[in-house]
């Protein structure tokens, strides 16, 4: 009897293994197919940015073995994309800095202090997540005109800071509330006041959450077309997304230039992402974005 049972088992195992293999091949095929949809368009656009418009139109699949730099020259000379770059970077980095500073301080208080009204503040913050930019844009625009901040860097930095603070406070507070109390007490024994405790202990320990929050705030600020169109749409302060929108209506037939503008917008962000993608995943892994 026994040998047959063993043989039976082996047979089953073989079948099992085979089936496992077949199904995992299918899984890899599906996953690879989806990753092609995320990789190929990027390759396509960068590839086409090195061709003259005529070739983009007639032969967009071929690889640009002889790269042409005309589009890049045009992008910097004719539409002054460098200027928009600078504008974008200045405004987005300032927004990130302000959000982290103000959000970090507020998150520290909300996560480590006991006081009356804390629950109310949390409820208000959660409710704030439901206010979209559409519902504040008109009065903010009016306010910026009255204070002549419209079409200045502050005209985008301040509204975007306000808009991103809720997210940052909730995420950072969530992280800080997991830091053990003993650490705080030890620091207090050493004579730290609250301010020193914040920047000597809580900020360094919370570095991962600051990193991931800063990445998301940067992306949302850099990519925010709606606010840019309204608050900073003059040529000298316009960020890169507003310029892209302009290109699509002004130079809609110059395919090479469009491909170049998209490539120039996307590639720096993309390279930074590849370098720090671990942080992004980590920030999300800590349950950070749960609204």
């Amino acid at each position: 009897m026994e040998p047959t049972i063993v043989a039976e088992q082996q047979k089953q195992q073989v079948i099992h293994k085979k089936r496992w293999k077949a199904s995992s091949v299918i899984i890899y095929i599906i996953l690879t197919a989806w990753s092609l949809t995320t990789i190929y368009p990027l390759f396509w656009i960068v590839n086409n940015s090195f061709k003259v418009s005529r070739d983009v139109m007639n032969d967009s699949f071929s690889i640009a073995w002889n790269p042409v730099w005309t589009n890049y020259e045009n992008a910097f000379e004719r539409i002054n994309i460098g200027r928009s770059y600078m504008n974008s970077l200045i405004m987005s980095f300032s927004t990130v800095f302000l959000v982290l500073l103000l959000g970090g301080l507020a998150a520290y208080v909300l996560s480590r202090f006991q006081f009356q009204g804390k629950r109310t503040i949390y409820s208000v913050l959660y409710a704030t997540l439901l206010i979209p930019a559409f519902a504040t844009v008109v009065p903010v625009y009016e306010l910026l005109i009255q204070t002549s901040l419209v079409n200045t860097y502050w005209g985008l930095i301040l509204p975007q800071t306000a808009g991103n603070l809720t997210f940052a406070i909730l995420v950072i507070a969530g992280y800080m509330s997991t830091i053990p109390k003993e650490l705080e007490e030890a620091a207090f024994m050493d004579g730290c006041n609250r301010w020193q405790m914040f920047y000597r202990i809580f900020v360094p320990i919370s570095r991962p959450v600051f990193a991931s929050a800063s990445i998301f705030v940067f992306l949302w600020s850099y990519n925010d077309l709606f606010s840019a169109l309204i608050f900073v749409n003059k040529e000298n302060v316009r960020p890169i997304v507003a310029l892209l929108n302009e290109i699509s209506s002004q130079y809609g037939t110059d395919f090479g230039l469009m491909a170049t503008a998209v490539s120039l917008t996307v590639i720096p962000v993309f390279l930074v992402y590849l370098m720090i993608s671990k942080y992004i995943q980590k920030g999300l892994t800590e349950g950070a974005v749960k609204g």
């Binding site: 967009s60 208080v109 909300l110 439901l130 008109v138 903010v140 306010l143 077309l225 999300l284």
Partner: protein, 285 residues
């Protein structure tokens, strides 16, 4: 701690001030403006519920609402659906997890405006990528952005943009399921699809709820895809672009504000309904 009160105030104040000025005050001001008929910023007249009555007879707004709902349907079915399937698949493999995680997230970091411009180049009738592709197979060119197709054509980049974001959220939730559950399932002989539908999905239900809420509120904010690709023409007007046109292009601040308030209420109601429908006992482990 002694003197904490001072610090509580000092640390909360800067954030509170900036949010009060650029978020809370404008929100209530919008609410206030929605009861006025305005001409520019200086001339306004109280009209009571007039703007809100107009909302209900505004056919363009009705169309924009329906279009937004249609996009929302695609987002819920395809964006959340694809993200869930991909997460289940990636969770089940051993090699290459990190690669797929990194690659699937690519579109999320790209600005919607850049993606829109990319799709403008895809959809262009004469020289776009898609019609080029069709031409190679000798198939007649298609008008991708006409009345019948345009909204679907816009939904594709909208869906594609954020699949990776929800994928990561799902994958994270799955990685938190204790392995004893899977071992128990293995002993019971449950595997494959059954394991996914009976174990994994019920266990991450609370995360699915969060994602669905995010997807619903996110769809209400769709703006750049429509604005860049069609400017809201050919039956693609959504609430975001309609509000922009009313408030900023026509400079009709009163009615624009009423549209914005309508969007907020619409979003809250939809989110509540979704959470009601998905109500389940939360599982903690």
């Amino acid at each position: 701690m002694k003197g904490d009160r001072k610090y509580i105030w000092m640390f909360l104040l800067p954030a509170a001030v900036i949010m009060a000025i650029f978020l809370y005050y404008p929100f209530f001001k919008s609410l206030y403006l929605s009861f006025y008929r305005t001409t520019g910023f200086f001339d306004k007249r109280f009209v009571g519920w007039n703007n809100y009555e107009r909302l209900f007879s505004d056919e363009l707004l009705g169309a924009a609402t329906l279009n937004t709902l249609e996009v929302m349907l695609y987002v819920l079915v395809f964006q959340v659906g694809i993200a869930l399937v991909l997460a289940v698949l990636v969770d089940s493999i051993r090699k290459g997890k990190d690669f797929y995680r990194t690659v699937f997230f690519f579109p999320v970091v790209i600005s919607g405006t850049a993606i829109s411009l990319l799709f403008v180049l895809f959809y262009n009738y004469n020289f776009g990528l898609l019609n080029n592709l069709l031409a190679q197979f000798n198939i007649e060119k298609v008008l991708w952005l006409d009345q019948g197709n345009a909204l679907k054509a816009i939904s594709i980049p909208t869906v594609w943009h954020y699949v990776g974001f929800y994928f990561i959220l799902f994958l994270t939730a799955m990685s938190k399921i204790p392995s004893d559950y899977y071992e128990a399932a293995k002993l019971e002989g449950i595997s494959g699809l059954k394991k996914t539908t009976m174990l994994t999905i019920p266990l991450i239900m609370s995360d699915i709820k969060v994602v669905i809420t995010l997807a619903i509120t996110g769809t209400l904010k769709v703006f750049e895809f429509v604005w860049v690709i069609t400017r809201g023409q050919n039956g693609t007007e959504v609430l975001g672009t309609y509000m922009y046109k009313k408030a900023m292009v026509d400079q009709n601040f009163g009615y624009g504000s009423a549209v914005a308030i309508y969007m907020v209420i619409f979003g809250v109601v939809l989110a509540l309904v979704a959470n009601r429908l998905l109500k389940r006992d939360e599982i903690t482990y």
